[in-house]
C-alpha cells in the first residue's frame, strides 16, 4: 500500500453473517465520514436468502463504503480494505471478484483456531495473500469475550476502523448514539465502550493507517438511497397516491412512502396484485389525483395490459420499475438494466410512451418531478427505469432547495369550451383537452377501443390511423424539445461509450481515467430512452467506434438492448459492452474494456 500519490479515497467493505450488524456499523462509519466532509457511496451487501445459514458464502452480509475527498458517483472498483467477521463471508466476495489484489484484509482470527473452520480459513486467507493482499488478523471474538459482551463485534470493528481511517471519534460516537437512540441507555453505553475498546486495541496493535482528506461542504448535504430519493421525489412532485404490490427491490420505496406519505395527505394502497395496483393508479389519475405505481420485473410484466390502456385512453400515469436481474424471477436482489425493451415494447399494438431513467440517486428525486409533468402534459404513460443499484446505494448530494415552483404542482384544470370533447387532438401537438370528472362539467367518454374525437367507438380505418398518428405525434413533439446529450470529452475520437441510467457515475469515471491515459474516448449518457433525443447520429459520426455500456445481456451479433435501439435509430454499427454480472458496473472493468477496444482498433 505504499503508493506515492496521496490517497484521496478508499473502498471499504465490512462483511459478516446476517444479523451480526456489519451494515449498522458501516452506516455509522459512513455517517461520521460524511459529517467530516467526505463524499461517499455506500451499498449494502445483501444475502440472497431470508435466513441464510451462518458461516456460509450465501450468508455473506455487509456493506461497501466508498468514501473520498471528491464527489463519489458510484460504488467503485474492487475494495481496498475488508473487515471480515469470518472467512466464508469473505469467500463470497472473493468469488465475486470484489477485492483489489493489494487489498488489506482485517479478519477475526477466531476461526483460525477452531477445528472445523481452520482449514477453510487458511485456504481463503491464503488466496488473498497469494493475490497480493495483506492480512491483519483481529482477535474480534476474543475482544468481545474480554469485554464480557455477547453482541457487539460490529461496534468493535467500527472502533478498529475509526482508528485506521483517522476518524473523528466523537463524530463516530455521536452517530452511534443516534443510531442506537431507541435502545436502552445501558446498551448504548456498552456499545460506546466497545467502540473505544476497538479503537484502543487498534492503536496498540495495528501499524497501518490511511488518511482520507475531508473538507466539510459549504452547501447542506443529504445522504440517502435511491428508493428514498424516489419516494421524496414522488412527494415533492405532488403525487398523492402510490398504488403498489410488494416486490424486491421496489418495495422499499413504497414502504418508505407508507411511513411518510400521510403527512402530505398521500395514501399508499397495497393492492391485491400488480394488475390491480396499476389499475387503481390509472383510475386515480383519470379522476384527477396524481398517482403512481412502483414495481420490479415480474410486476412490470403483469402491468402490461394496463400500460396499453393508459396509452390508449391517454390517461397520465407514472410507472416506476426498479430493475432487478431477469428474466422471470431471475436475481431479485441484484441489479440489471434489462427491462428497457420491455418498457418500450411490451404492450401489444403500437403504444408509444415516455421512458426515462434516472442517472444518480439525486436524479431519482428529480426524475419523479419530470415524470409527473410529462405524464400530465402529454396525457400518457411515463415509465421510469430505476434499478437495484440506485435503490440500495446511498450517496451524498446537495440538498435541493426548500421550495421550487415544480414542487406539489397542482392539478391542472384546463379551461375548455362547452363543446369540448375528450379527444379533440390538436393537429400540431397531438394533445387533446383533459376532461376530468368532478372538475369539468362536460361528461365525456373514455374508451379502450379505438375512438373518435368524441371518445366514441370507431371501427373506421381512417379514424384508427388518425388516432395512432396523434398518439405518436405527442412523442415526436417531445423529442423535438429534447437536447442532444452532451459529450464528456472531445466530439471526435476513437471510441464513444453510450450509457443510460444508473451507470452514469461509473462510466464518467472510467472515461475520465481513459482520457487521462491519453485514450481518445468520449462518453455520453441518455436519460430519455423514449423518445430518444435528436442528434445522436451526428454525435456518433465523430467516432471510429460507438459502444453502449449496459447491464443486460449482449453479444457481438446480438448487442445489448440500448444498442439495438441506437442501431435502428442511427444506422451506426453500435456495439455493446453488456453483461449481467448481478452487480454495479465497476469503472475499472469498463476502463479495461476501453483499452482493449482501442488496442483492437489499432491492431
Amino acid at each position: 500500500m505504499s503508493k506515492s500519490p496521496p490517497i484521496r479515497e478508499h473502498i471499504l467493505e465490512i462483511l459478516s453473517d446476517a444479523g451480526e450488524g456489519a451494515q449498522k456499523a458501516g452506516g455509522i462509519f459512513a455517517k461520521a465520514s460524511a459529517k467530516m466532509g467526505n463524499y461517499l457511496w455506500t451499498v449494502e451487501i445483501i444475502p440472497a436468502e431470508i435466513q441464510p445459514p451462518a458461516h456460509t458464502t450465501r450468508g455473506s452480509s455487509g456493506i461497501r463504503i466508498r468514501f473520498g475527498a471528491d464527489p463519489v458517483t458510484n460504488a467503485g472498483d474492487q475494495a481496498n480494505l475488508i473487515f471480515a467477521f469470518n472467512e466464508m463471508s469473505l469467500l463470497a466476495r472473493l468469488e465475486a471478484d470484489s477485492l483489489a489484489p493489494e487489498v488489506v484484509l482485517l479478519i477475526d482470527d477466531f476461526w483460525a483456531q477452531q477445528e472445523e473452520t481452520q482449514a477453510n480459513y487458511r485456504q481463503v486467507v491464503a488466496r488473498v495473500v497469494a493475490g497480493g493482499g495483506r492480512v491483519i488478523p483481529v482477535p474480534l471474538t476474543q475482544l468481545l469475550q474480554d469485554a464480557d459482551a455477547e453482541q457487539g463485534k460490529n461496534t468493535l470493528a467500527l472502533g478498529v476502523l475509526s482508528y485506521l481511517y483517522h476518524r473523528d471519534l466523537s463524530l463516530v460516537e455521536e452517530a452511534l448514539r443516534q443510531s442506537f437512540a431507541h435502545k436502552e441507555t445501558a446498551v448504548i453505553d456498552a456499545n460506546c465502550a466497545l467502540l473505544h475498546r476497538g479503537y484502543d486495541w487498534a492503536g496498540g496493535a495495528v501499524d497501518f493507517r490511511v488518511k482520507i482528506p475531508a473538507k466539510p461542504s459549504k452547501h447542506p448535504m443529504l445522504a440517502m438511497n435511491g428508493n428514498q430519493a424516489l419516494g421524496i421525489g414522488a412527494i415533492a412532485a405532488g403525487f398523492e397516491l402510490c398504488s403498489m404490490y410488494p416486490i424486491t427491490p421496489a418495495s422499499s420505496a413504497s414502504v418508505f412512502l407508507a411511513k411518510e406519505f400521510e403527512a402530505f395527505g398521500g395514501v399508499v394502497h397495497q393492492a391485491e396484485d400488480e394488475i390491480a395496483a396499476i389499475g387503481v393508479a390509472l383510475g386515480s389519475n383519470y379522476a384527477g389525483k396524481p398517482a403512481l405505481t412502483i414495481t420490479s420485473g415480474p410486476g412490470l410484466a403483469l402491468k402490461t395490459e394496463f400500460m396499453g390502456l393508459a396509452v390508449m385512453t391517454e390517461t397520465p400515469l407514472v410507472l416506476v420499475d426498479v430493475q432487478r436481474g431477469g428474466p422471470s424471477t431471475g436475481l431479485p436482489t441484484k441489479i440489471e438494466q434489462s427491462d428497457l425493451l420491455a418498457a418500450l415494447y411490451s404492450t401489444p399494438g403500437d403504444a408509444p410512451k415516455v421512458v426515462l431513467a434516472p442517472t444518480s440517486i439525486e436524479d431519482c428525486f428529480e426524475v419523479m418531478i419530470t415524470a409527473r409533468r410529462l405524464a400530465e402534459d402529454l396525457r400518457t404513460l411515463v415509465v421510469v427505469l430505476s434499478d437495484a443499484n440506485l435503490a440500495t446505494g446511498v450517496q451524498t448530494f446537495k440538498r435541493p432547495p426548500a421550495d421550487r415552483p415544480d414542487y406539489f404542482r397542482p392539478l391542472e384544470i384546463e379551461p375548455v369550451g362547452t363543446e369540448a370533447v375528450p379527444y379533440q387532438w390538436d393537429p400540431e401537438t397531438g394533445i387533446a383537452p383533459r376532461l376530468i370528472p368532478g372538475h369539468h362539467r362536460i361528461p365525456a367518454m373514455t374508451s379502450s377501443l379505438n375512438h373518435d374525437p368524441k371518445g366514441l367507438v370507431s371501427y373506421d380505418g381512417a379514424s384508427n390511423q388518425r388516432s395512432h398518428q396523434m398518439r405518436r405525434l405527442k412523442l415526436n413533439r417531445l423529442r423535438e424539445s429534447l437536447k442532444t446529450p452532451p459529450l464528456l470529452g472531445a466530439s471526435q475520437g476513437d471510441l464513444l461509450v453510450v450509457g443510460w441510467g444508473s451507470t452514469l457515475g461509473a462510466i464518467e469515471e472510467a472515461a475520465a481515467q481513459a482520457q487521462k491515459e491519453g485514450l481518445a474516448v468520449s462518453a455520453c449518457h441518455l436519460r430519455f430512452l423514449n423518445p430518444l433525443p435528436p442528434g445522436l447520429k451526428g454525435l456518433f459520426g465523430g467516432f471510429r467506434q460507438v459502444v453502449t455500456v449496459e447491464l443486460n445481456y449482449g453479444e457481438p451479433k446480438e448487442p445489448g438492448q440500448l444498442a439495438r435501439l441506437l442501431r435502428a435509430e442511427t444506422l451506426v454499427d453500435v456495439q455493446s459492452f453488456a453483461k449481467v454480472w448481478g452487480r454495479p458496473l465497476m469503472p475499472c472493468e469498463l476502463l479495461a474494456e476501453m483499452r482493449r477496444l482501442i488496442q483492437a482498433q489499432e491492431a
Binding site: A34, K35, M221, L222, M224, I232, I235, A236, E240, L241, S243, E260, E262, A263, F264, G265, V267, H269, A271, E272, D273, A276, A277, G279, V280, A281, L282, G283, S284, N285, Y286, A287, G288, K289, A291, E305, F306, L309, R399, P400, A402, Y407, F408, P437, G438, H440, R441, P443, A444, M445, T446, S447, S448, L449, L456, V457, A462, Q465, R466, Q469
Partner: protein
Amino acid sequence: MDFMHLDEFIESHCARPQAVDFEGEAARWCPGCGDFAILSALERLLAKEAVDPSEVVCLSGIGCSGRFPYYLKTFGFHGIHGRAIPISTGVALANEKLKVITVMGDGDCFSIGLNHWLHGLRYNVDLLALVFDNQIYGLTKQQASPTTPQGTWTTTTPGGAWLPAIDPLALALNMSNRSFVAQTATWLPGHLQQTLESGWAHRGLSFIRILQRCPKFSPQAYGEAQELRERFVFLQPAEGSQASAEESLADRLEHDPSDLKAARRLLQEEPRMPLGLLYRNPAVPSYQALRLRARPSRAEKLLALENLLDRFSL
C-alpha cells in the same frame, strides 16, 4: 385504377363529416336484452336523485355489459376485461365527491376479475358495483362463464358445461368486510330499480348481482315467467314499496338484511334464488373513510418536506 394516396385519404375522411349520418347514439344490444332494463332503471335513478352527471362516473369492463357507459349521459370509462373494480377504486380514492358506478359482466367479474371483485368487497370502496349476470359470455359469442349452469351447451363446452355454477352471493357474503350484497333481475323493473336505489344510498361497495336475460345466447337462463314462483323468492322487507305488479310473481320470505348469519343461512337452506337485499351493514367504514385524510396546504407540505429532508441531512 387511380389509387388515392393513403394520407390524402385520411385527410379527406377525417376532415369531412360522413355524408349520411342517420344513426343516433341509441343503445345497441339485441332486442329483448336485459341490459336495456338496467339502463332505464339507472337513468330513472339518476334523474330521481338529480345528480350532476359530471359528478358521476360509470366504469365497465369488456362485454356486452361493457357498452353500458356509452349510453349513460355521465362520465364514462370503458376499461379492460375484468379490471373495472381496480380502476373504479382509483376513481373513488381520487375524489370522494364522485359517485362511481361499476358495471361488469359475469365473465368479467367472476372469471377473470374474481380476485378484484372479492378483494374489492373487502376494501369496501364506495362503489355501486353491478354484475349483469346472463350466465354466459355474450360479446365473444357464447362461451361458458362461472355462472353457466352445469350441462349447458356453449361453444367451449359443446358437450355441456363441465362444472356446477358458482354462487356469487355465497362468495360475497363470505368475504370479510363486505358491507352490501343484493340480488335482483332485469325482468322485474320495479324490484331492480329499488335495489339500485338501496345500493346507491349505501356508503361502501354495494354489490348487486342482476340476473340478466340474454335472448341471444342464454335464452334458457332463469326460466320462463311461470317458473318464477318455483325458482325465486322475494326477501322481505324489501326496500320501499314493492312494485305491485311484481309482488305476486313469487313468494316472500322474512329476512333481516342486517343479520349476516341469517343471510348466509338463507343461501344455505333456501332452494329458491333470493331476490332483494341479503346483507347491508352501514357501520363498515368505506375504504375512503379509512384511508383519505385532509389535504394539507402547499405551505404545510413544504414544511413537512423540509422536516423530511432534515432527517437525511448531514
